[in-house]
Symmetry: C2
Subunit: 331 residues, 2 copies
């Protein structure tokens, strides 16, 4: 993430040195923890590229507004990650222990709630007509996607098709990763967002998430920042797994589903390691990569069309290149 953007986000949070009690100092430190870990800043970068493509010059009077919206997106990402890490009982985030592993679920949950409110402070600071509604809509879609994802795990639901997966991933990832940043960039530049930003962003978001699911199985632990195979431990429904289940031998399918019925802590590491091996040697990884490639191509074509009239074609090219890299990413 751009250091300046990170500083803006952090500037909204209370200063630990000014806390009235040691416990509150600890709380203020918790609020800053995930934002200080940084992250790629992908969504804020996309927003700023979209603003530039729509004619808002870096450093122009309206640029500050775009920066606050970008800071708000990063704060959104941070509070959602704190809560997601609790729900998934993830061990790590950005190469360090997850917040609830450091401080317990209750204090981490409360920190996520407070950070959610600080996100609105950033939205308010931007003062953009329509920005408020964009954030509301983004949160609602993301929460719907999260509900699908988690309810399948909670209810042991495995009768799912690739279409079900796509419904989930569009809602859970597509809006907040691509659609909303594209739209906010346009709005910050005073332009109406192109209607194709939605189908383009949902396709690109799906491609991005499918690659992420694959990296969770095949990635380099040093680069990936999360535990490899974590999705298996969490019983996540991914395109790889859903495809594999449709084609696996009955015996292996049975062993797989049996493990998935166990809670994370009751899962057998040796069997999980076998499952990982079966997935890696199957053609389901290749199927998912192909699927992601097709979604990425479709999304890029739509996005190219939507940006063809954009005032700053150099920024539009940068944006398309970022999207291209993103959906091919290896870490």
């Amino acid at each position: 993430m751009r250091p300046h953007l990170q500083q803006m986000a952090l500037s909204l949070l209370p200063d630990p040195a000014a806390a009235s009690r040691p416990e509150l100092r600890a709380f203020y430190d918790m609020l800053r923890d995930y934002p200080e870990r940084g992250g790629k800043g992908l969504r804020s970068e996309l927003l700023l590229l979209s603003a530039r493509a729509h004619g808002l010059a870096e450093g122009s009077p309206g640029w500050e507004r775009a920066l606050w919206l970008a800071a708000a997106l990063e704060l959104f990402q941070n509070w959602v990650l704190i809560h997601d890490d609790i729900v998934d009982d993830s061990d790590e985030r950005r190469g360090a222990p997850a917040l609830h592993k450091l401080h317990g679920v209750s204090l981490a949950l409360n920190t996520g709630d407070a950070l959610h409110a600080y996100m609105w402070a950033a939205v308010q600071r931007a003062g953009l007509e329509g920005g408020f509604r964009e954030f509301l809509s983004m949160i609602h879609r993301t929460a719907e996607g999260q509900h699908l994802d988690v309810s399948w795990v909670e209810h042991g639901e495995w009768h799912l098709t690739p279409d079900d997966y796509l419904d989930m991933v569009r809602l859970k990832t597509g809006f907040y990763t691509i659609v909303t940043p594209l739209r906010l960039g346009a709005l910050a530049a005073g332009q109406p967002p192109h209607p194709d930003f939605e189908p383009a962003g949902l396709a690109l978001g799906a491609a991005f998430q499918i690659r992420d699911d694959v990296l969770n199985l095949t990635g380099d632990p040093a680069k990936y920042g999360k535990e490899i195979g974590g999705d298996l431990l969490e019983g996540k429904r991914t395109l790889v797994v859903l495809h594999w289940l449709q084609h696996a031998h009955e015996t292996r399918r049975h062993i797989f589903l049996d493990q998935m019925r166990q809670s994370r802590t009751d899962k057998d590491p040796a069997i999980i390691s076998d499952l990982l091996g079966w997935l890696l040697e199957s053609d389901s990884i290749e199927y998912a990569q192909q699927f992601a490639g097709a979604e990425a191509a479709r999304g890029l074509t739509l996005l190219r069309g939507a940006l063809v009239q954009a005032p700053d074609q150099s920024a539009a090219s940068e944006l398309l290149a970022l999207m291209d890299t993103l959906t091919r990413r290896e870490a």
Copy 2:
């Protein structure tokens, strides 16, 4: 709560009948669950009384604005209760099972997050200059109070004085229950909030919470809506318990603290029942009642002074009477 207000809050939430998938229908039902359970609507009532006392007539053009702020306060209460019930692992809420007991922690956590965003939709709908900042400040104070309360439990902290308890309860309860409703009512009527609303509201909020802590030990289960003795199971630091610990026999103190070191599920129901008996037969209940009475009297005097110039003295009297009843409540 006023049925009209409840309808306004519910009108912001998605319609389960319009859900695109059965899982999302279940999610929309979860969003409506706590708001549909109702509740006393104390904070919204206080806001509306404050608005009337400040000269905003019921049904006047500005009244709608006050109603949306009141609906937002009720939505705030609802998302916070969903998350608090998770943190405290409460069994019941408003006479029915807590949301996470019905659907699991993960789905309930996500529902609380989404309801948090719908709260902001209500604030936005009110369109009151300054309303946004009031809600931000209220959430921040409440989260600080929650951090104190929960961090003491998590860290096994019992070296606490009545002043520590008051710090916590003012932050956790005082702002959102009294200070913010009073201030929002004034702002909705176009008046600057009186500076004494803060000290008055914090004293009244403390009185209210201390009574609630006592009711948690002595209340009528049918009227109280939560489990009697639940605070003991959750290891809550209350004024009653802190006072009792200062005066208890060494042996009983030791037994008490030993139980408090156990997790909720590991606590021994028979011993907890003994502890409850010791608290009830001690003079700590009386001490807390006296303390609450003194805070209530101080708060009422300050509030009476702050409202002496209010345009609608009849509404101001109603407001003072509500505060008086509230801090004497028995259910």
